[in-house]
């Protein structure tokens, strides 16, 4: 009986052949928590009798959700994380070093074929690397840090095949928004997704991360991009599905004619062709997050904004996904272009996406964001509306003061 990628990765970790539906206790290759989930993780770790994390080189804490601290309460939680990391001899990624998922990939805490557990719902991002990565809450993560293990139900897998190449000016974000719209926010609950087909094969690692990242917007346990075409700057071996693997559901799309996509308030699966929303006035444009804060995202925005000024009624916020992304965007001139166009640069981290600080919208305002969630209140104000789009769409919209198709600036 053939196996999916998830079944193969879990089998390798438990030492026997598993199939969907089986309960397993598996070793993990890495674990991390952010400053939203870390303090409760530390509290639970101590309460459950934890003394030492299972391997300090495989565990990390990242201060990214409210960094730098906006008030004394959060400052004290950050201190609690720093103290714990020092005590355990594990790495703490400081304010500004970057978003948890970006720094885990950049620093090779996760590699192809790994099982990684993160106390953040966007942990499936590492499916870009052909890893089995799941988001959990704080107590689960504390248990994993203590035992080096996780209990899992081996998931059934949904196979999504996308044939054809994306048109020029259409990006991985447009593709994944389209897929979230088709599968819906609960269409993959408890399940894994495999993304395969020509449309994914030519994608960069950054674009693959954008794809895998939004698996969680379909409710998936994990989302793994087929490794065909994957390029990394170290040697690696990959896991591919058997031809006779069993899938619970299959989707097949020809995406060669796909247009830029927009997700309208207030659910990520409320996805439409951009033409449905072109002309919608915006107040605020945001590029960043674990979904779309990487160099290629900032570069495409700079390509659109080069030598121009954003609309006078719009403010634009940029949060690079990591310090490394920021440095690259400084070296290649992208950051200068964006700031000259009128954008405001904030600390690498989650920034306004989680509604804690660094750019909360006002009542009645409309945001176009390169993030992955537009739930009511997501950015800190339930009386604002959030549209999601590609970084290219955010840049074109910032320029015109209304939701705008970026293709005319790119083709």
């Amino acid at each position: 009986m053939g196996q999916t990628i998830s079944e193969k990765i879990i089998s390798k970790h438990v030492g026997y052949k598993v199939h969907a539906g089986e309960l397993v206790i598996s070793n993990v290759d890495g674990a991390m928590a952010s400053d939203t989930t870390g303090p409760l993780t530390i509290k639970a770790f101590r309460e459950m009798g934890g003394k030492k994390v299972f391997d300090p080189n495989k565990c990390a804490l990242i201060i990214d959700h409210a960094a730098p601290s906006p008030n004394e309460r959060i400052a004290n939680l950050h201190k609690m994380m720093r103290d714990f990391a020092k005590e355990q001899g594990m790495r703490l990624f400081e304010i500004g070093e970057g978003i948890c998922h970006q720094v885990m990939v950049e620093n090779q805490y996760v590699k192809p074929g790994d099982i990684f557990i993160g106390a953040d719902s966007h942990t499936p991002t590492y499916g870009a690397l052909n890893a089995f990565a799941c988001g959990v809450g704080s107590t689960d993560l504390a248990a994993t840090m203590m035992t080096g293990k996780i209990w899992l139900k081996v998931p059934q897998t949904i196979k999504i095949t996308c044939n054809g190449k994306l048109q020029e000016g259409v990006t991985a974000k447009d593709l994944i928004l389209f897929l979230v719209g088709k599968v819906t926010v609960s269409g993959a609950t408890y399940q894994a997704i495999e993304f395969c087909g020509e449309a994914f094969e030519g994608l960069s690692l950054a674009s693959r991360m954008t794809i895998a990242n939004m698996s969680s917007e379909m409710g998936a346990k994990t989302g793994i991009v087929h490794p065909k075409g994957l390029e990394l700057d170290y040697d690696f071996s990959v896991v591919t599905p058997d031809e006779d693997a069993t899938y619970i559901k299959t989707f097949e799309f020809d995406v060669s004619g796909l247009e830029p996509q927009v997700s309208a308030p207030e659910s990520p699966d409320n996805v439409h062709n951009i033409s449905n929303y072109e002309g919608t006035k915006i107040n605020y444009a945001f590029i960043g997050t674990c979904c779309n804060g990487r160099l290629e995202d900032l570069d495409i925005a700079a390509q659109i904004l080069k030598g121009k000024k954003i609309h006078p009624d719009v403010r634009m916020v940029i949060a690079p996904a990591s310090q490394s992304v920021l440095l690259d965007a400084m070296s290649n001139g992208t950051m200068k272009t964006l700031i000259e166009a009128g954008a405001s640069l904030i600390t690498s981290g989650c920034g306004p996406c989680v509604g804690t600080h660094q750019g909360v919208p006002a009542d009645g305002e409309v945001v176009i964001s390169a993030a992955n969630r537009n739930f009511r209140g997501r950015m800190g104000n339930p009386n604002s509306n959030i549209y999601l789009g590609a970084p290219s769409t955010v840049a074109a919209s910032a320029l015109e003061g209304q939701i705008s198709n970026p293709k005319k600036y790119l083709v």
Binding site: L77, T123, T147, S186, G219
Partner: protein, 169 residues
């Protein structure tokens, strides 16, 4: 059932589908270890009256995909701290489902329930039976995996690991 009360009779507060964790507890309130802060803001963007109306032991009832979105354990913690004794939904988002069990908040999946606001429910957690005393209808919840029952029996994952030191199937 050890540290979790096994029979509950209480009032249902009923909401719809896809209640995300931002609506259960907005991100701006999550960075705290003070559980009363969480309880004070629970569900405020969905129903500002919930916090005033909920009584200790009450039951939260929802449609599909309850708890979708972020991994914040503050969501089930906020509900539990506010007095909610059980959450019933047609189905749950997976991280919320695990988190609730891990902190000792029982969750029951009943795919076809038709429970209305204000209904009086009688729940037996051991058997998973739910009687809607107002509408006179009985339901049976989907059985939890054995390991979740063991975790819930201990009142949550902290106590489970304190007792066992490791996982076992």
């Amino acid at each position: 059932m050890g540290k979790v009360q096994t029979t509950i009779t209480a009032k249902a507060h009923v909401y719809g589908d896809h209640i995300d964790t931002d609506r259960i507890i907005p991100g701006k309130y999550t960075k705290t270890l003070d559980l009363s802060t969480l309880a004070n803001h629970v569900l405020e963007d969905l129903d500002p009256n919930f916090n005033k109306e909920v009584q200790q032991g009450d039951i939260l009832v929802a449609g599909i995909n309850f708890g979708c979105g972020s991994s914040r354990e503050q969501a089930p913690l906020a509900l539990k701290q506010a007095g909610v004794s059980v959450v019933i939904a047609r189905d749950f988002a997976r991280i919320f489902f695990r988190n609730a069990i891990n902190i000792g908040l029982p969750v029951l999946e009943i795919a076809d329930h038709n429970i209305k606001k204000g209904a009086k429910l009688e729940i037996d957690l051991k058997s998973g039976s739910v009687k809607d005393l107002t509408a006179n209808i009985s339901y049976t919840a989907t059985k939890l995996p054995d390991i979740m029952i063991s975790i819930l029996n201990e009142g949550g994952l902290v106590n489970y690991l304190k007792k066992n030191g490791n996982y076992s199937l």
